[in-house]
Subunit: 162 residues, 2 copies
DNA sequence: CCTTGACTTCGAGTGCACTCTAAGCCGTAG
DNA sequence: CTACGGCTTAGAGTGCACTCGAAGTCAAGG
């Protein structure tokens, strides 16, 4: 598997997942997940445009995420945003949570726990586990909808009303 | 598997899917899908409150769906809505499409095709097939997000920032 | 007869997650 | 020097999918 430098992290995740079994719990090596989070060779400071290109999140949305407190971003001498590897990792993690339908409100809550330090680790863990269950329920629902649509396609050919 | 009369169709679908293999294409018998669409014994006319209870869609939302043209509903002598089995089936189908993240705009388009009659069958079929692909992509993305979150849970225990 | 409660309509309001605008600053290429 | 493109800010605007409110109608129960 090659994870090109020109892909967004979402595309990288897709190409990664495409190579895995369709089981609900694909195994990811630490190496793979790390390469997903922080593409090798891009560990230094990045301007907003590069973060946007890398993550597939628009510059507008990146500023929005910072404004509502999801990411802390430093500035250069001219006042422009400079994303270090930690900020980039945060953006990627937030997009991963968004992709799994976690609301901005819940992500803010989680980030708030992170800010409070390691005393909140148990709560964070419980939070992620609860979200994991929500994802699994969503997967079941989606599979059900897919089955019904597949059934409609194969049996009715789109003909039978409704 | 028992599909109780007191469950919403979404709950019915879930209990149905829970009994199936976790493969992406569970097989559904015609009998099962039909029982899902139209619970036996409820083939006659229903007031809005019963449709709401049966489908899990609020009366407000049912009126909204009618207003934007997703469902046609007859009235009784007093002007109250009367859902026949066809209207109920339409509501259920719409909720199924909504559950699979199809936008209201796209559902309206599909219903528009249905209204135009059988000449649009090929287009409807293509539409459903395209949507099927969107669902499958969504399933892959969701699985990827699940994998990353699982990885975070098991490896970092919620501790490692971010 | 009168009240109750479920229904009706129309239009306005809500919450979410962006998404864009406008006005202005800064560093480099020509 | 100047024009340009990309960045900055605060705040307003957008689109979606509901969701609710207000005012009124109607049938059944006490």
């Amino acid at each position: 598997m090659t994870l090109s430098m020109t892909m967004t992290t979402t595309e990288r995740l897709r190409s990664l997942v495409d190579t895995l079994e369709a089981s609900e719990l694909p195994e990811l090596s630490e190496e793979l997940v790390c390469s997903l989070n922080l593409p090798a060779g891009l560990v230094e400071e990045l301007p907003i445009a590069e973060v946007a290109a890398l993550t597939g999140v628009s510059a507008h949305t990146l500023r929005y995420y910072e404004r509502i407190g999801l990411v802390d971003v430093a500035r250069d001498a001219a006042g422009r945003r400079v994303y270090d590897s930690q900020a980039l990792a945060r953006v990627v993690f937030v997009t991963r949570l968004r992709m799994s339908d976690m609301s901005i409100r819940d992500i803010s809550h989680y980030i708030g726990l992170v800010r409070q330090g390691s005393s909140t680790v148990p709560e964070r863990l419980a939070f992620l586990q609860a979200h994991r269950e929500a994802i699994r329920q969503r997967l079941r629902d989606l599979n059900g909808a897919l089955a019904v649509i597949d059934y409609k396609i194969t049996t009715y050919g789109g003909y039978c009303e409704p």
